[in-house]
């Protein structure tokens, strides 16, 4: 066994309390190159940490193992600590919803982005679910909240939360993506990390009653009804038109998200879930559904959320979030610590169905390999993909390309621009490129 473990650098990076200067780490890495083979042969290479450096590592091994810490030798915390609701570890405080400076000018009509760079699996923790408010958020007294259904129905009805929560419910996992997600990338590269390029998407399990159940209870006029209007109870009273096929299919009037009631920022106590459709249609604080026979040209479908085309027209009612994917690790704003093996991982989703396949390229799109899809693979939900990659230390461009159950292939940015120009703001679902530089740093680039 090597006498000095600082000669043995595994890929385990120093724990937060252990710092190495640039020089220390570089010398340690050099040492690794000459000693690693020998050390591995002697079975010592696995847990060795560069961070311990000379001071912390005795010849016998690492302090992290040899010196029993307080949490091993002391008494831990009791149950049901105040406030009786578990919080993430204090070591995880870097992963936060964040605003993109300069994107909006008023905090109550703004966006906060989900930190996709640090998340796992397909479910977004509720506290990290992205936010989009048009006129601020509220924490509404659920006992006073009402849902009204009116218009082309035999019986115009009012429901309390008590009524709604007695109804037959469904629980389904769906993604929600803001129509403007990745809007910054229509033109040139503008933002430094995946949180800001792609962080207006989340995926949760929603529980509620199918909208079709409510509409049938009210005796919807199936001949005349062509659209429904969903309306919120907040100051902006968001309204959005939803076509009747959607409304009678998989829309959910939901009160729960990820096993608990909705968070106030996400519409407590009631929001509409419109699977596959952009987030603006998922009206929060839902107070009313009107059944009608004409599209409504609401403010968020006639002034905002319209796609500016090169010929000067605007496309209206473009709700579908088409097939899209992005690599979340490694991604822009991250740095690789060494050459060698990486599990490249990311997310894929489609508003038209389920994910059939995700391919990953490490050479900017010349060659592609098919990634492993992790289960469950659900319609209109996030799908996690993983693929093995061994980095040789040379510049590399990582890309993911998703294909959905309709056979649609996620496009390149130049293909999108050829049809829609660069001004359309919404529905940017292009293949995202991350450049891995020789120094290990990953950055946002455009390659096509």
């Amino acid at each position: 066994m090597s006498k000095d473990l600082s000669e043995v650098i595994g890929r385990v990076v120093p724990a937060p309390e252990n710092f190495l200067s640039a020089e220390q780490l570089e010398s340690a890495r050099k040492a690794r190159r000459s000693f690693m083979g020998k050390a591995l042969a002697m079975g010592a290479g696995v847990a060795a940490s560069a961070g311990a450096a000379t001071k912390a590592i005795a010849a016998e091994g690492e302090d992290a193992i040899l010196k029993l810490p307080e949490h091993t030798t002391g008494l831990g915390m009791p149950v049901a600590m105040d406030p009786g609701y578990g919080q993430p570890s204090k070591w995880e405080s870097n992963l936060r919803r964040r605003q993109s400076p300069g994107l909006t000018r008023v905090d109550a009509a703004s966006v906060s982005f989900t930190p996709l760079q640090g998340l796992f699996g397909i479910i977004t923790p509720s506290g990290l679910h992205f936010e989009r408010h048009h006129q601020g958020w509220w924490d509404i007294d659920p006992s006073k909240h009402r849902l009204m259904i009116n218009g082309l129905v035999k019986r115009e009805r009012v429901f309390t939360m008590d009524d709604l929560m007695r109804l037959p419910s469904v629980s389904r996992i769906h993604f929600i993506e803001c129509g403007a997600n990745t809007a910054t990338e229509w033109g040139n590269v503008a933002v430094p990390s995946v949180q800001y390029t792609h962080g207006m998407v989340s995926c949760s399990e929603f529980t509620g009653v199918l909208l079709s159940t409510l509409l049938e209870m009210c005796g919807i006029d199936k001949k005349k009804a062509k659209f429904v209007l969903a309306e919120g109870a907040d100051g902006s009273s968001m309204t959005r038109t939803i076509d009747i096929e959607r409304a009678m299919d998989d829309c959910i009037v939901a009160w729960a998200m990820n096993g608990e009631m909705l968070r106030p920022e996400n519409g407590y106590p009631l929001r509409l879930v419109v699977p596959g459709i952009q987030g603006v249609s998922w009206v929060k604080y839902l107070r009313r559904i009107e059944v009608g026979d004409m599209k409504y040209a609401a403010k968020d479908e006639a002034v905002h959320y319209i796609d500016h085309m090169p010929d000067g027209t605007h496309r209206q009612y473009t709700g579908i979030q088409e097939c899209k994917s992005v690599i979340t690790t490694p991604s822009a704003g991250q740095t690789l610590l060494d050459k060698g093996y990486y599990n490249v991982t990311g997310l894929a989703w489609s508003g038209r169905g389920s994910i059939k396949r995700v391919d990953v390229s490490a050479d900017g799109g010349r060659t592609w390999r098919t990634a492993r899809l992790e289960g469950p693979v659900l319609p209109k939900a996030m799908t996690r993909f993983n693929i093995d990659w061994v980095w040789d230390g040379k510049p590399a461009i990582l890309q993911a390309r998703a294909i959905d159950s309709t056979g649609y292939v996620q496009p390149k940015i130049n293909q999108l621009r050829a049809v829609r120009g660069t001004k359309s703001v919404y529905h940017q679902n292009a293949i995202q490129s991350w450049l891995v530089s020789e120094n290990g740093e990953v950055s946002n680039v455009q390659v096509y």
Binding site: L20, L25, L95, N150, V189, V191, R288, G292, Y342
Partner: protein, 362 residues
Amino acid sequence: MKNMFKLSRQVAVAAAAVALTGAVHAQNQPWHDLGRAATPAEVKAWDIDVRPDFKGLPKGAGSVSMGETVWIAKCSSCHGDFGESNEVFTPIIGGTTKKDIETGRVAALVEGAPSKAPQKTTIMKVATLSTIWDYINRAMPWNNPKTLTPDEVFGVTAYLLSLAEIVPADFVLSDKNIAEVQKRMPNRNGMVFYEPLWKVNGKGDVKNVACMKDCEFDPRVKSFLPDFARDAHGNIQEQNRGIGPVRGVDTTKPPAKGLVGGAAAAAAPAAAPAAAKGPNVNNLLAANSCTACHGMKNKIVGPGFNEIAAKHKGKANLEAYLVGKIKNGGSGVYGAIPMPAQPQVKDADAQAMAQWIAAGAQ
């Protein structure tokens, strides 16, 4: 007894038949009668939407000049006197021409066309006048929505239309003539309904193929993150976990020179736990929409907080003075634009913010 039994059986069968017709739903959908009927007054109170054919528009009328009065009092502090302000929200008026009113297409929206507006305005985009009426009626003023009367909404709409030269300065907009005015909307022919992006089972407009090797390929990077944007979102190192296969890049520094394993990797950050903080003034300022008009260190509509702190430094009873200004508004101290009264701000919040400003707004 026999007859008796027969009779009761008949009754029972009849009763069952009645129950059956009355409660088909009770068998298939036993939840069918949950909820209750909405009253006409309730439907009227909530059913406020106005459609493009103006169904839902209440009766009423408002002149341009009445609308201007309402506008200056309740709208101009955010949108500018002429709806042109780009300071708090994007501008509403500007960028349309008389020709656009004739054609119903805003020429400046065509790619590469010259435009007098610095950016797209609402009036350049919106095709439906019902949308403007409905928008103002349901969501404005920003911090006090649904408080305008229908006549005021007609007036404010008329004022905006007059600024865009769609109606003359002496116009009175009403439910009677609004459909005629719709025919002059500058971008009324500018909207396209593209069904494939509306229907879930539609086919998209952009096609790619799933090539696997020797694919069409141009290795040149077409766009990099500009240097000034590297740190514009804060230090990305502090936005990544301190363990795992990667670290966040320290974006306060330029990219590390040399190969992997140099300074870039060595900069692996500590995952510093967030310290528990007291009441957060930043949150109060944001929650009460103060930051819509006041920057931390810059004027937006009103003065920056640092400017207020500097102006009043050392004054007696400063906190009480500032609480008064917050709650009651004021004008003339920093220019002509008035600060509206903010009676909705909680006393404790006003006190905390005043205290913070008095202490230097740091």
